[in-house]
Symmetry: C2
Subunit: 215 residues, 2 copies
Amino acid sequence: MQDIFAVNEGHAGENAELFKRKGVFVINLMASPGAGKTSFILGTISGLRERYKIAVIEGDLASKVDSERIRSQGVQSIQINTGGGCHLEANMIKQAIKHLDLDGIDLLIIENVGNLVCPADFSLGESARVVILSVPEGDDKPLKYPFIFQRCDVLVVNKIDMLELTDFNMKRLEDVMRNLNSDVKILLLSCRTASGLDAWIDWVEKELNREGDIG
Amino acid sequence: MQDIFAVNEGHAGENAELFKRKGVFVINLMASPGAGKTSFILGTISGLRERYKIAVIEGDLASKVDSERIRSQGVQSIQINTGGGCHLEANMIKQAIKHLDLDGIDLLIIENVGNLVCPADFSLGESARVVILSVPEGDDKPLKYPFIFQRCDVLVVNKIDMLELTDFNMKRLEDVMRNLNSDVKILLLSCRTASGLDAWIDWVEKELNREGDIG
C-alpha cells in the first residue's frame, strides 16, 4: 500500500506542476454518492462560464450519465470509468488531461467517485480540495469519516432547503469541523434553489484571479 | 488483490457455517453515508425486539456514535473501527462475534461502512445483503454504482417522505433495478415517519422463521 501511495504522489506532483505552468486552477470535488456533486458543478459552470473557460473530468464506476449532463451545457467533459475502482488516482488524471487543451482552460473541476473514504488518500495534483456534505446525510458525518473532512479546503453544505425535514444541527457540524480542520471554509447552499451559490462563485473567482497573478 | 478476496471468502465461509449451526440470521447492511442505516436498524429493533433476540455489529472508520445509539435501546452492539478502512471484512466479523453469545441470538445485523463501492466485494458470511438507497441521493445511483445493487437481496428505498422535494423517479429506479438484479425485493419506507417499516419487519420475520425450520 505504501508503494501505491508513493507512486500516486509522484504522478500528483507532476500534474500539479503542469497545472501551475498552464495557469489552470483545479478542484478535486469529493462527496458521498448523491450529495449533489454534478448539480454543484452545473451551478458553478452557470456562474462562471461567461468569464472563464471551464472543463470537467467525471469519475464514476460506470455510466456516462454525468459527463453527458455537463456536455449538454456546452462544456468539455471527459468521463473516467473506474470499472469498480473506488476513487480516482493521479495517473488517471494524467492520462485524461492529454485530451484537453490546458492553455485554453482556466478552471478544471474533477468530480471524484462518490465515496467519503478512499478518495481522501489520493491526491490528484489539485489546487483545492472541496467536500460536499448534503443535509439529509446528517451532521455527524465528519465524526464518522474524519479523514476526508480533515484534509479539505472548503466544505460545502448542500441541500439546505431540506433542513426543516431533518434534525441536522449546523452548530454541531461547525463545532466538529473547527476541531478537525480549523482552516476550512464552510459554505451553506442549495443547488436546487441556487441559494448561497454566489458565495461559492466568489470564492472560486478569487482563487482564479490569484492564480492569474502568480502565473 | 485476488489473494485478499480469496482469504476473505475463506473467513466468510467459516462465519456462514457458524451462523447456520447456531441458527442466527445475519444481515449485511450497506449504503452511502447518511442513507439512514442506523435509524433503519433502530426501526428494525423496535419492530422485532419483543419476539426475537437481536445483536448489532457497527462498522465505522472512527467514533462510537452508532453503537451507543443501539446500546441506548438495550440491545447488544459491538463497534468495529476500521481506522480508515473503507469496508468490513469477514475476519473482522470473525473476531467481533467472539464477544457474542450466538446461542442466544436470532438476528445479527451488521452495519457496514457507509460506502457504495468497496463493501460490495467482501462477503462477511451473511444470510442476506440489504442495500439502502435514500431518496435525496437520486434514482440514478444503481447506474453509477451497479456492483453493490447487482448483488443485494433487498433494496430499501428510505426517506420516501422527502420524495416531493426531489425529482426522484421511482419508475426509473425500478426499471434499472429489474435489469441489474431481477430477483431483488424493493421496499419503500421512511425511518423518520415509520411508514412502510411493517413490510420490512414482515420480510425479516419470514426469513427468521424459515431459518428456524431449517435449523
